[in-house]
């Protein structure tokens, strides 16, 4: 395909998609650099698939532009776009065998030497010898790999993957992740990858975008998003966070001063998304430490008092719930370093943190604390 210069970026400019009165994608703008691995995360129904479909040409944006390498493609028919899709539901052709499914795109473009390429592709997804089978004679995971092979074989400029690894077992999934990443770096294809697996998104992607209700809430490198989320939604969608409702009272040097529930806290100004008004003071559970109530805190730390109400041992760490005097339940993940024992339920404690690990997010007036319940995979996502 012609547009292979560094300007082969995929750009969405103010793209909106409405279904009747329902807005599925709301004024979305983003740039995906050529050759990058871009992950799209978000709750079910937030518009991820719709976004991909618009890039593929299967859905017409209600307004806005889609550009590939500077050229407007949003009016092009799907078969005119150098874009291929791995469908969420595979969409394998039931009347064609696996070989013909994979060869479909090549045949439509009248490519010669099909057999060799197809065989290579099938072995890449570990399906050698399955060429003569029909899709309904394969397992879910095998079908998914065929869908992948069928798109990859065309070496598109942009590959859209709609939860392509959802049906695979963990081992195969890791394998395919490595394989995908390898292919992506080798061939220099732009991957746009929709996934529900946060770890997958964080380990594979150069850039992660978190979508919510048709909008992108935050976009950036995985570590950046995790360490300094932009909104309460992101803070609790990617990993989890303890968000305390507070109000900015002023600044002191390079610190923002916040009052919450009668206590005063400080956060470095550069860790604050807003500098006045109602805010959420956020700390990740693994950045909280527990100390017996009344003990002196390490230098510079600040904390809140509470009582341990729950603890669950999950191997690499122990997850505690600490109930504060005003009834918020803070999650605290303590690594199992072997130093210091488990804290029994009922113990009065101080949960403390270093201000540099906290962050400040805007809060709608009247919104209370946002603390997420302990999720089993939160640790995995945080690691």
């Amino acid at each position: 395909m012609a547009n292979n210069g560094p300007a082969g970026d995929l750009r969405l400019a103010n793209v909106t998609k409405r279904f009747g009165i329902f807005t599925a994608v709301d004024d979305l703008s983003l740039t995906i650099p050529q050759g990058s691995f871009f992950a799209l995360l978000g709750a079910s129904g937030c518009g991820k698939t719709t976004t991909l479909r618009m890039v593929a040409g299967l859905e017409q944006p209600t307004s806005g532009q889609i550009l590939l390498g500077g050229a407007e493609i949003s009016r092009l028919r799907p078969y005119k776009r150098p874009v291929n899709t791995v469908f969420q539901s595979y969409a394998l052709f039931p009347h064609l065998d696996i070989f013909e499914n994979v060869a479909f795109g090549l045949r439509r473009r009248r490519v010669k030497e099909i057999a060799g390429q197809v065989e290579r592709m099938l072995s890449l997804v570990q399906l050698e010898g399955y060429g003569k089978r029909r899709p309904n004679q394969l397992s879910g995971g095998q079908q998914q790999r065929v869908a992948l092979a069928r798109a990859l074989i065309n070496h598109p400029q942009v590959l859209l993957l709609d939860e392509p690894l959802g049906a695979l077992d963990l081992k195969l999934r890791r394998q395919m992740q490595i394989e995908l990443k390898r292919i992506q770096t080798e061939v220099g294809i732009t991957f746009v990858h929709v996934t529900h697996d946060q770890e997958e998104a964080m380990t594979m992607a150069d850039t992660v975008a978190v979508m919510n209700a048709g909008r992108i809430e935050q976009l950036g490198a995985p570590a950046e998003i995790y360490e300094f989320p932009a909104t309460a939604f992101v803070a609790n969608f990617l990993g989890q966070s303890n968000l305390l409702a507070g109000t900015v009272t002023g600044t002191s040097g390079a610190d923002l001063l916040i009052e919450a529930y009668g206590s005063r806290f400080s956060v470095p100004v550069e860790r604050a998304r807003v500098r006045q008004g109602d805010v959420h003071l956020g700390v990740r559970p693994e950045k909280l430490f527990l100390a017996p109530a009344g003990d002196p805190l390490p230098a510079g730390h600040q904390g809140v008092n509470g009582v341990v109400t729950d603890s669950s041992y999950v191997g690499v760490s122990t997850q505690y719930l600490v109930r504060t005097a005003w009834g918020a339940e803070l999650a605290v993940f303590a690594p199992n370093t072997g130093i210091g024992g488990q804290v029994p339920i009922g113990t009065p404690v101080t949960a403390h943190w270093h201000p540099a690990h906290a962050f400040v997010l805007p809060r709608e007036a009247g919104a209370g604390d946002r603390t997420a319940p302990i999720l089993p995979d939160a640790v995995a996502a945080a690691s």
């Binding site: 279904f19 299967l58 017409q60 009016r75």
Partner: protein
């Protein structure tokens, strides 16, 4: 065999899933009309127009004749007159077709159920067996029934020997023979939609149900039957409509005492040449059928019939 499994599948079919087709283009707006045009035109010209014309004919002056010509006098009296003259045939049509429908459900449901859920690898063969008789002419099969039911046939002999039939009792030329013929002739129209529906019935649902309700009878009443309702509605309609309009069975297996409305309309059109009356009868009949269909579909809770 998927060929036949789709016959009559309509009512049970999934709701139209119109995911807005790829990219709206000008000519896409016109396309559906172009696709519809020939067929719709055909139906309009050769079905709708004649129907309207029939409605008009039914209001012509009954005093007219083919030779003298007909005058449009808005003779609504044709309807009560036709009904008064032929209400027994009307009643008979619906009674015979109704009884035959019940019989066809009793015979067709187990057959469709067995083919869909129990036949295993004999499924295709059994399905073919349901359809293949349709290829032997309808008339021939009815004539064959005439042979089977005839007074000196083996069936009558057997029934007489078993004292199930009086020594001078007959089968042919009785209402029973006509109902039997109707049941027989239109049975595939009952079985095929039922089969298409029951085939899609998830066996795991039945297993889950037998977990919950335990008794097979209750599983059938609570799960299988409600789920197969669309198929049953389609089947009964596709059966009842042609059965009530039929006159071949009454003609071949019955006597004028068993004549149905179809016989009357046929002779009014082709023998007596009394067009206004024939049209009034036709229209009345069609109206009743449509009323039955709509009430039935409403009550059965299947909105889209086609």
């Amino acid at each position: 065999m998927s060929v036949l499994s789709h016959v009559g599948a309509p009512v049970g079919g999934p709701k139209d899933t119109v995911r807005e087709p790829v990219a709206g283009q000008r000519r896409r707006r016109l396309l559906p009309y172009l696709l519809l045009l020939p067929g719709a035109l055909w139906l309009a010209l050769f079905f709708a127009v004649p129907a309207v014309q029939l409605a008009a004919t039914s209001l012509y002056d009954p005093a007219g004749s083919l030779d003298l010509g007909y005058a449009m006098t808005w003779a609504f009296g044709n309807y009560p007159d036709a009904l008064a003259a032929y209400w027994p045939q009307f009643a008979r049509s619906f009674a015979y077709a109704g009884i035959a429908t019940v019989l066809a459900v009793l015979l067709g449901y187990p057959l469709a159920y067995a083919i869909a859920q129990k036949a295993g690898r004999w499924k295709n063969l059994m399905l073919v067996c349901v359809v293949a008789p349709m290829f032997t002419s309808f008339l021939l099969r009815t004539l064959a029934w005439k042979t089977i039911l005839s007074d000196n046939g083996w069936l009558v002999g057997l029934l007489r020997d078993l004292h199930l039939l009086a020594p001078d009792g007959r089968l042919l030329a009785t209402p029973a023979a006509v109902v039997l013929g109707l049941t027989y002739n239109f049975l595939p129209f009952m079985v095929l939609p039922l089969y298409a529906n029951l085939e899609r019935l998830d066996y795991r649902l039945l297993e889950a149900a037998s977990d919950l309700y335990a008794s097979p009878v209750r599983v059938f009443r609570r799960v299988t039957l409600p789920l197969s309702m669309p198929g049953l509605v389609a089947g009964t309609l596709l059966f009842f409509i042609p059965a009530s309009g039929d006159y071949i069975n009454a003609e071949l297996l019955g006597t004028p005492n068993e004549y149905m409305i179809g016989n009357v309309i046929d002779s009014a059109f082709l023998v007596r040449l009394d067009y206004p009356q024939a049209a009034a009868l036709s229209f009345l009949f069609m109206a009743v059928i449509l009323a039955i269909v709509f009430v039935y579909v409403r009550r059965a809770g299947t909105d889209e019939v086609v």
